[in-house]
Amino acid sequence: MSAALKTIALVAFLIALVASSTPAIDEEAGPSAGITESGWVNAGNTVRQAVGGGKRAPTMGRVDAQPAALPEDDGISYTYVRACTAGAGSDLDPATCPRMDAQCDAQDDGILVNWIELDSTVRPATRTPTGRSSCMYPGEAPAPPIEGVEAPEEAPIVITLEEFQKQPVLAATIVSQPSNFGLRNAHSNVYAQAQEQEFTFEFQDAEIVLKARPVSYQWNYGDGTGATTTTPGGPVDGAAFDTETPTSHQYTRTGDFQLILTTYFAGDYSVDGGPFQPVAGEAAVVSEPHLMSIWRTEGHNVSENCIENPQGIGCAAPTR
């Protein structure tokens, strides 16, 4: 097979990947342009696309007269080098290898390797980086990149947001301080307690492990206002009347309010023990409504207690 044909096969594979991973971004959760979100995909070795008269990158320049011929020994083989030490010379930062190899976390002691094409049809044989990399694990021979190009006949299993939403993700618990009470115009501290959760289920004959982690919190305070935070908030010390926190809220009226919290969970899934990859979109999970009882304060100076003067101020049951 010629190098040009390999390139075409590679490009076709990349196109197939794009087509198969339709990002079903949840409308409600909103888009995300963060580099670690679903938009971050593998970078592969491709040729320059011709735009505005741009030149194509030089290929190996060998032309095969019978492109449909069966693959035979074409003198091309592959070898690999450890990615983190390649090109580092003598000044290797000790943090470089752990950082790079952290990408290969499907098993312990994974190593990121770069693939080198060995062309023995010329003398001396040439070594050319292919621009492709893969993970190598102890006791396993890593697959050369060429097999990775020809093998993908089955569409990869993709867990969509729809599938994610079917999982019984536990809603966050709402906690307010102190108890369910708050004071008008004061900062009432409320916070969420949400947990990372893991689910294992069968999907298209594959075992899926799905991890859900809370990423944002949409608060509906029940008084017509709301907010979205990326922090769940947390408890504050003491009586906690009027302490401002990232998730506290000031009610401007007295009364009972039903606070509704929607927690958005991001999902990462692994197919048959493979590497974890993100689910496109976030699952929204609504918590049980939480009652907030908001009161006003009134101060008076008195000279008797309620036993001495049961009709005194503040001795009757409180009113709003």
Binding site: A33, S38, G131, C135
Partner: protein, 137 residues
């Protein structure tokens, strides 16, 4: 220096290219970015499309700047004539505002992320061919 065909030139170009990317997040002006980016970069297109979608809905974005912590390249042409680098990057906090100025979503500053960039020296300047996570990870 970003116009030099050398390891230092490529590193300078990569930093410059990430600045153009960051500029796109803040302004939704992608012309300078597209001028030096190959349309085959899927990560670039994905992220750009999300940013554009948000601006088209009338909102805007604050933050999202990507900084380059370090690069590591052998500076050897690969089989298609381009150069691979491993890049260690961090993206700042992103705040999404809707058309009425309300913050609707946010994402925190990332931990350092390892990525791969593949650049091509086109006659007299660098072009970014691809950018994303290493294959096989």
């Amino acid at each position: 220096m970003a116009d030099e065909n050398s390891p230092e030139g490529l590193e300078a170009f990569t930093a410059y290219w990430l600045e153009l990317f960051s500029y796109g997040y803040e302004t939704n002006d992608w012309a300078p970015f597209e001028a030096v980016t190959d349309p085959g970069c899927r990560t670039c297109e994905n992220l750009k499309a999300e940013v554009q979608k948000h601006y088209e809905s009338g909102g805007w974005i604050d933050g999202g700047g990507i900084s380059l912590n370090s690069t590591n390249t052998e500076f050897v042409e690969n089989t298609t004539g381009s150069i691979n680098s491993f890049i260690d990057i961090t993206q700042n906090e992103i705040l999404y505002f809707d058309s009425s100025g309300i913050e609707v979503k946010g994402s925190k500053k990332t931990e350092p992320v390892l990525g791969v960039s593949i650049a091509y020296w086109e006659v007299d300047h660098w072009v970014m061919l691809d950018f994303g996570s290493p294959e096989g990870s």
